[in-house]
Amino acid sequence: MKALIQKTASLLKSNAVQVVIGYGKGSADRTRAIFLTKVEDCEQLIFDSRCVQNLAVYLTKAEIKKLGKPAIVAPIPVLRSILQLASENQITADSLVVLGISPENELVEFESLAAIETYLSTKQIAIDEKYRKAIDDIKAMPVGERFEYWVKELESCFKCYACRAACPLCYCTRCTVENNQPQWISVGSHPLGNLEWHVMRAMHLAGRCTDCEACFKACPMGIPIHLLTKSMLQDVSDNFGSTGPSLHKDNTLSSFKPDDKESFIR
């Protein structure tokens, strides 16, 4: 990624940005997020198929904001998150430099957030066939069995909140799960608390999730929580039309149409 290293070095040198958020070498064979502030450190930047963490999560963190204006290495999932964050007024065009990475691992530069939207318009979110099948299989179970399935899947959750920490869209500084006046969610990692936590997490991402799977990849127990968000993504497109982040559309749950259709209200 010579082009990426050259570009970031020149951005830091000209002081156009003060920090570069990118991928670097981690422990063993893994990669990790790195934050570069010096021109000579740009050599550490790498990009390959191991770089799956969603770096957009750092854009809203106070300790990263303190470093100054960032340039961010952004493969497709990160670009989608950036667009969604922009549509929620969490970032503005002049608050960052986006260094896009195409699926062919080429550096793509963007002049504006609208350019990102145009670029992504040809790369719509598509739910993979294997996940679609997994969701359908679950939905095909009788209701009691389905409940049992999820209670069992969620059994190993010990509420580390890695799913929340990894998600670029979980940026609230005070999360409902930490609220104890009232205690919305039972704190212990028992079946009830786990169920309530995962329902709340999925609902708060309804119509906002950009399907980056960061939550699932972060989960130390491998709980298929991404099936919840994927299923909701499908529900959004079935009920309200298009999905995917956009600068021009309101979020699904903060907007409405008087003729929204449903079949269950008497």
Binding site: I135, I138, K139, M141, V143, G144, E145, R146, F147, E148, Y149, W150, V151, T176, W184, I185, S186, G188, H190, P191, L192, G193, L195, E196, V199, M200, A202, M203, A206, G207, L227, L228, S231, M232, D235, V236, N239, F240, T252, L253, S254, S255, F256, K257, P258, D260, E262, F264, I265, R266
Partner: protein
């Protein structure tokens, strides 16, 4: 053995369904006593977590009711609520939480008879489904005092 009497919690909006339920009473229409009505400013205020809390505390069924579309006291609260219910219902269904136990309805302040009908049919339906044992099992954790 006595017949199972379901516990039903009704989350209703102040302006339509609550007034409608009031009309049911003043019209002297009799309906099932299983329902406990909780009054909200608007259906838009009814947080989805409250429904889970109701099940967690032992409700066998839930009614959520408010103003008809275009009748909202705050113009669009029920439109927002409707979208949220559509998404919430889909999620609960995937998780295996029994969506048949949640009845959504629009009941206006003039529909006292409809309110009685909504409650009666819901009570009948839940009575047939029986106690919500699946959720109660999950929520039984709370029964031990030291866990609360």
């Amino acid at each position: 053995m006595t017949e199972f009497e379901p516990k039903i919690v009704a989350f209703v909006c102040n302006w339509c369904t609550y007034a409608g339920a009031d009309l049911t009473g003043t019209s002297r229409i009799k309906y099932a006593q299983n329902v406990k009505i909780i009054r909200f400013p608007c259906t838009g205020r009814i947080d989805f977590m409250l429904l889970l809390k109701a099940f967690g505390e032992g409700a066998d069924g839930i009614i959520v009711s408010g103003c008809h579309p275009n009748d909202c006291h705050y113009t669009s609260g029920n439109f927002h609520a409707r979208r949220r219910w559509i998404m919430f219902r889909g999620l609960l269904d995937l998780l295996g939480i029994d969506v048949r136990r949640i009845q959504y309805s629009w009941v206006s302040a003039a529909e006292g008879a409809k309110w009685a009908d909504v409650v009666n049919t819901t009570v009948t339906a839940i009575r047939e489904l029986g106690p919500y044992a699946d959720y109660a099992k999950v929520a039984s954790y709370l029964e031990k005092e030291e866990n609360v």
